[in-house]
């Protein structure tokens, strides 16, 4: 299983039947493949109950997801306009949101909408990390150049301050706690030292540290 799917599968394990969940673009979007039955997906462009991608004649302009792909609504789906959609987001009605990350700080600040010199819009990202009950960042542990993405302080423009609850990567799962970043799970065959070498802040090791299921 490649890293993206490992991350998506583990992030999806946070969802429980009955949850209403929003998935961001990229790795988070893959979580729908692994979610338990009874999880309903919300998309910011106005639908609770996003189902599979529509194919061929099933495609209808009026049912699409946030990346403008036509989808099939599930039984019990309800369309909502943008104001209602963001009321759902901001008003704490999402049980979880899975977002991509460029950087996460030791206090759970998230930067995922801009880099210095490339700031083309935050869309729904800031509302999502403001309102969702559990904010899960699903990302690879390091950049393509092998640099840490989990830092003492974010250097990119922030999406939200102290908003992240969990970080899920291909090598570990980290809980964001008031005392700092707590390493909760490590991928099979990896060591604590290895993980710590790829993360800037000093990690707290959970008393119930366990192996990550991949």
């Amino acid at each position: 299983m490649d890293n993206k799917h490992i991350i998506a599968k583990r992030a999806a394990a946070f969802f429980e039947p009955g949850d209403i969940v929003n998935l961001g673009i990229g790795i988070p979007g893959l979580c729908s493949n692994y979610a338990a039955d009874g999880v309903m997906f919300h998309t910011e462009n106005g639908l609770v109950g996003v189902g599979a991608l529509a194919e061929g004649l099933q495609k209808v302009e009026s049912f699409c997801n946030a990346t403008a792909q036509e989808i099939l609504p599930v039984p019990g789906a309800s369309p909502v306009n943008t104001a209602m959609s963001f009321g759902i987001i901001r008003g704490g009605r999402l049980d979880a949101t899975v977002l991509g990350g460029l950087q996460v700080s030791r206090r759970g600040d998230l930067a995922n909408w801009a880099t210095p010199g490339r700031a083309f819009g935050m869309g729904g990202a800031m509302d999502l990390c403001n309102g969702a009950r559990r904010v899960i960042v699903a990302m690879e542990l390091c950049t393509k150049d092998g640099k840490p993405k989990i830092l003492n302080e974010c250097t990119f423009p922030l999406t939200g301050k102290a908003c992240v609850d969990y970080i899920v990567t291909e090598l570990c799962v980290i809980n964001v706690t008031p005392d700092g970043l707590e390493l909760a799970e490590i991928a099979p065959g990896r060591s604590l030292e290895e993980i710590q070498s790829m993360v800037e802040p000093k990690l707290i090791v959970s008393a119930s540290l366990k192996e990550m299921r991949v």
Binding site: A68, F86, G121, M122, G123, M126, L158
Partner: protein, 215 residues
């Protein structure tokens, strides 16, 4: 009762240089494409457009970016349209970025007679720059002021001659909110229904918000 259904010529005559125009639709879905085409045809320039995103290159809202008629865009995201990004980078287009939830509430306030909205979204980020913070119920919020537009261009699935409207699925998006926030409100309907053919239970926008219908 006079039908609000009108002609392309009458709509064309509404557009003037320098106007602020709200345009419904999101990611090229639910976009009032025929009204956008009329706006392009009018040649009105130095426009400020208020819209969720800038569509795609020369597609839906992107047609206005492509035609060079837009001076400023008040929006949430421009990254999907390389032309918008290029114009912005070259200093030829002013871009005001809003979190989507704040954008839609600002427009809703404009339509609903409110001065602005209190939201926590954006606190601690660049969004809070130059904005007032207000304490309400012991909690800190950003004040985001209302937005109104000179002309709202929106799209609905079904409408009757009085302008009562119904929307479908994710094609509603910002349309039901923008339709209320224009000094002049023009709607493009996919299906023009007869009076009472659009039943009372299906109407979600009262016709009183609508001035002109393109059928």
């Amino acid at each position: 009762m006079k039908s609000k259904v009108t002609t392309k010529e009458a709509i064309l005559a509404c557009f003037k240089d320098g106007q602020t125009i709200g345009i419904g639709g999101q990611a090229n879905h639910g976009s009032p494409n025929r009204l956008i085409n009329l706006l392009v045809q009018s040649g009105a320039k130095d426009l400020t457009i208020v819209t969720l995103d800038s569509g795609d290159m020369d597609l839906t809202v992107g047609r206005l970016i492509h035609s060079g008629q837009v001076k400023e865009i008040i929006t949430t995201h421009i990254g999907k349209n390389p032309e918008t990004v290029a114009l912005f980078a070259a200093g030829k287009l002013k871009v005001e970025l809003n979190p989507m939830g704040s954008f839609i509430e600002r427009v809703r306030c404009g339509g609903m007679g409110l001065g602005g909205v209190l939201t926590k979204t954006g606190l601690g980020t660049v969004v809070e720059e130059n904005k007032q913070k207000i304490i309400s119920n012991g909690e800190e919020y950003l004040l985001e002021p209302a937005i109104r537009v000179d002309i709202a261009l929106t799209r609905a699935r079904r409408g009757d001659p009085m302008g009562n409207l119904a929307y479908r699925g994710t094609s509603g998006n910002s349309n039901p909110i923008l339709v209320t926030a224009g000094d002049l409100s023009i709607v493009e309907v996919d299906h023009l229904m007869e009076l009472n053919e659009l039943t009372i239970d299906e109407i979600t926008t009262p016709g009183l918000f609508v001035d002109m219908i393109l059928a």
